[in-house]
């Protein structure tokens, strides 16, 4: 039996009205995540992965942004159209977020104590002393040495990895049901990345948190996620459990991503196969599959009609008309 999803996004579409025209940032995205599970969202810049998750938290500035359609449900409760006031009882309390850049996400003028205790005083009604004790125990959990002493410090007195730990401590202070982590380790060195990913896993195991992990790094996906959603030009092009996606990618874009990355476990001298060309201009999306201009398997049909996500295996979905997998059995890329 599959556990009931705690967060469900259905057919979400987000547009931005810009000087260059209407940008279709997210075009009908659906996914769900269950308690204790980690869903990875992978895609390149402009694929809509961050916008999707800003929408979940009600953080899309409107205008210029506009949520055109769709639904976002947290434990069955619709978050779109909820008042800011009601939303603020969920945001930070039930659904928390970790941002990519801990330097800009922390307030440089406030001490770590101010920033860490604010969350629990608002959401959990802690008084000053219990908020402080809670903050100390959270800092301890994320592995910051001598937390009592560090509480009075300002963000600039911490290193990048330490700031990211503070962000995680803040996000997990209220034991959220859902944690959205947008490139949480991209700005960090690999040894610190390993520490942070391990920490997130431990905290997830103890509290059954559902995690949505947004990244562009297939290595991070492989080591941290149960299921994966691959996004391209505002749409999900493939969705599968992690093992299946890596073993048997069913969308040419997923295969292209895997073939174009340098990897430590490849034989030396392996030639990279880049995906030629550029991602499409999101203001000029015509009909047809948005990947077809860069796809070596594209046929006429791909240019005329947009493929929908369809079932390709017991758990996997892909949006592609062409059955190209037989062709690539020899291991050639797109």
């Amino acid at each position: 039996m599959k556990p009931r999803p705690v967060l469900e996004v259905n057919d979400l579409a987000v547009q931005y009205d810009t000087d260059e025209g209407l940008v279709e940032a997210v075009r009908g995205v659906s996914f769900q995540v269950a308690p204790g599970q980690t869903l990875g969202i992978v895609g390149e810049s402009g694929s809509g992965k961050s916008v999707t998750n800003l929408a979940v938290l009600g953080l899309i500035p409107q205008p210029p942004g506009k949520i055109v359609s769709g639904s976002i449900r947290f434990r069955g409760q619709e978050l779109l159209h909820m008042s800011q006031r009601d939303l603020s009882t969920i945001r930070g309390r039930k659904i928390a977020m970790i941002f990519q850049d801990p330097m800009t996400a922390l307030n440089p003028l406030l001490t770590i104590e101010d920033q860490l205790t604010e969350v629990t005083r608002i959401h959990l009604g802690h008084d000053r002393q219990s908020a402080r004790n809670h903050a100390i125990s959270m800092l301890e959990k994320v592995g910051i040495p001598s937390p009592e002493r560090r509480l009075g410090d300002y963000p600039h007195q911490f290193s990048g990895g330490m700031r990211q730990r503070v962000m995680i401590a803040m996000a997990l202070s209220c034991k959220p049901d859902v944690l959205i982590a947008d490139e949480p380790t991209t700005a960090l060195d690999v040894t610190i990345q390993a520490q942070i990913l391990r920490l997130m896993k431990e905290l997830q195991n103890s509290a059954q948190t559902a995690i949505v992990l947004i990244t562009h790094d297939m290595g991070v996906i492989a080591s941290a996620c149960d299921t994966v959603v691959v996004m391209y030009a505002g749409k999900i092009v493939e969705q599968a459990d992690t093992a299946t996606l890596f073993r048997n990618p069913r969308h040419p874009y997923t295969l292209g991503l895997l073939k174009s990355m340098t990897r430590l476990d490849a034989p030396l001298g392996t030639k990279l196969t880049p995906i030629e060309g550029q991602p499409p201009d999101l203001t000029q999306l015509g009909k047809g599959c948005s990947f077809c201009a860069r796809c070596r398997y594209a046929v006429q049909h791909c240019r005329e009609e947009t493929p929908e996500l369809t079932k390709v295996s017991s758990e996997g979905l892909a949006a592609c008309f062409v059955d190209w997998t037989a062709d690539s059995a020899g291991g050639e890329g797109p």
């Binding site: 040894t191 390993a194 520490q195 290595g219 080591s223 991503l257 990897r263 030396l268 880049p274």
Partner: protein
Amino acid sequence: MKSRAQVESRSTSQNVLEVKDLKIHFHTTGGPWERKRRIVRAVDGVSFHLQSGETLGIVGESGCGKSTTARAILNLVKVTDGQVILNGVRLDNLSARTMHPHRKQIQMIFQDPYASLNPRMPVGRLISEPMKIFKLYDRRTRMLEVIRLMELVGLDPGFMNRYPHEFSGGQRQRIGIARALAVKPQVIICDEPVSALDVSIQAQVINLLMDLQQQLGLAYVFISHDLSVVRHIAHRVAVMYLGNIIEIAPSELLYQHPKHPYTQALLSAVPLPDPQAESKRDPIVLVGEVPSPDQIYQGCPFANRCPIAEKECTDLKPALEGALHSVACIKA
């Protein structure tokens, strides 16, 4: 001093670039209210050589001194001690004016293709500018060179009159590469040239750099924090930690048989894009973080985080030893 003598004996015509015992120390204060002066040892005794047509990768975490080393090679920061030798000529003690003619031999590609191109210059002028500065060719030939270079790096010469903002990140990095190639250098210092690019575009630029090296016999110093990118492109790799090279070896040796415990930890921390292999792996997770480079260490700079450190490691700083595969660790 044996290793120094070896380096010396190898410094024949085949070495285009040599760096000997390079030290770069910055003097800082803790801010306007702090009296105490501190010395930050950004680079603390780095030596390597580079042959023509070769790529030397330099990897390490932020703050290890890899970018400062790059800037010192180009005489963009003041060298505290040591030597930088390009084709037998010492660069480190040259003034801006006397350095100028040597810049034709050694060029740089920067990390951020958005910040490194003048937004008010069309691409054609951006690429011809270096030739103009070195008074190469007449106007017409320069124009032909721009066309040749744009084709060489995979840009349509028809876009010559467009401005940088009209190009994507990957295309801008191609413009940066064309600019570096415009004066026909022997050595190019690449400082994180693909870090700002998406994976699929990264592969395009890596392939381009490798093709250009084969065609033109360029030598690269390739600086990156990404171990898998460096493994792909570099012939030899140097690992830096806290201003020191702690291991340097041909790629296949370094990646297959890393000897220094820091290199081992670094390699095991890179997540593999293979869920099965990943679930079986047990990465060496280092405790703590890189210490501040403004303190003086007696022993091995890695000793306080090293899983196999012993008492003697904190007594004496280990020297880089071994001819082909050099490592600075008394336990390796």
